[in-house]
């Protein structure tokens, strides 16, 4: 029986998540660095809902109309986070839309979720290692 991909969809999703979390960290650190730059609009990186939909094939994903079509997770390779800028709409101050407290919360949340993905990935690889090891 041919091995149809040792790396299951979960590993591919987790791999994608690590990249997206890094991208989010980049945006957060730029926001914190520019917390006092006049006129700076905070960068917002969004992917949780879209990734969930992409994995489950719901929402924006296309339905499989033919068994030969690729499954929902195949779209993962081209999955991209939605990045946009949030302008300051308060009309007061220096038009800087960064809230440092909010960024700090997102920073630690992002880190925890990154660590969780790393741990899950390690477990997955651990299982693969376990099944391929030679019986001594």
């Amino acid at each position: 029986m041919p091995v149809k991909g040792i790396f299951d969809p979960t590993i591919r999703v987790l791999d994608k998540v690590l990249g997206l979390r890094t991208q989010k960290l980049e945006a957060i650190s730029a926001n914190i660095a520019n917390a006092e730059t006049p006129g700076y609009s905070r960068i917002r990186v969004d992917f949780e809902t879209a990734l969930h939909d992409a994995v489950n094939g719901a929402g924006g994903g296309q339905a499989r109309t033919h068994p030969g079509h690729l499954s929902g997770t195949a779209g993962l390779e081209n999955f991209q986070a939605i990045v946009n800028r949030e302008k300051d709409l308060s009309g007061i101050g220096d038009r800087n839309s960064v809230n440092r407290e909010q960024e700090m919360v997102e920073l630690s949340e992002n880190q925890i979720r990154f660590d969780a993905a790393v741990r899950m990935l390690s477990k997955k690889f651990g299982m693969l290692k376990f099944v391929i090891q030679e019986k001594g």
Binding site: L18, R21, T22, Q23, L25, E26, A27, I28, S29, A30, I32, A33, N34, A35, E36, T37, P38, Y40, I43, Q80, V83, N84, R85, R100, E103, M104, L107, S108, N110, Q111, F114, D115, V118, L121, S122, F125, G126, K129
Partner: protein, 143 residues
């Protein structure tokens, strides 16, 4: 962008905040200076932050997505405002009417600015540490 690039963003902010602190301490040190090489009393200096520019080639390569940038000090501006005039005829820098112009620096303003600079510095240290922790964590995959 890699984790090292993220740490560079944080580092740019640390540098900018250090320059800011430098300017604040210069203001505080000269809070009573009535004579400068430019003539007249010392004028309050303040930093102007701007989003760091990236090179054109880099900009082109990343044109498909919004580019995260660091921060830099664009220039150090001088406050043109008039300082407080104090009547002190015996002062060597007193004018014909006996008034001395003091620097236009407010002690309270400078102290507040200093606290804000420290807050920003700490926040950026946290982002750098987080980036470092995430990079170290990623090295543990498959261990």
């Amino acid at each position: 962008m890699d984790i090292l690039g993220i740490m560079k963003i944080g580092a740019s902010a640390l540098k900018a905040q250090t320059i800011r602190l430098n300017v604040i301490s210069s203001n505080l040190a000269n809070i009573e200076t009535t004579r400068t090489p430019e003539g007249g009393a010392y004028r309050k200096k303040s930093v102007v932050f701007t989003s760091k520019e990236t090179g054109f080639a880099e900009e082109l390569a990343n044109s498909t997505r919004i580019r995260a940038k660091g921060v830099r000090v664009e220039r150090i501006a001088t406050d043109p405002g008039e300082g407080k005039k104090v009547y002190d005829p015996s002062h060597p820098d007193a004018d014909a009417g006996g008034y001395v112009e003091k620097p236009n620096i407010s002690l309270v303003e400078e102290m507040t600015d200093m606290m804000k600079a420290k807050g920003s510095y700490d926040a950026n240290i946290t982002t750098i540490k987080t980036a470092q922790r995430m990079a170290m964590k990623a090295l543990e995959i498959g261990r």
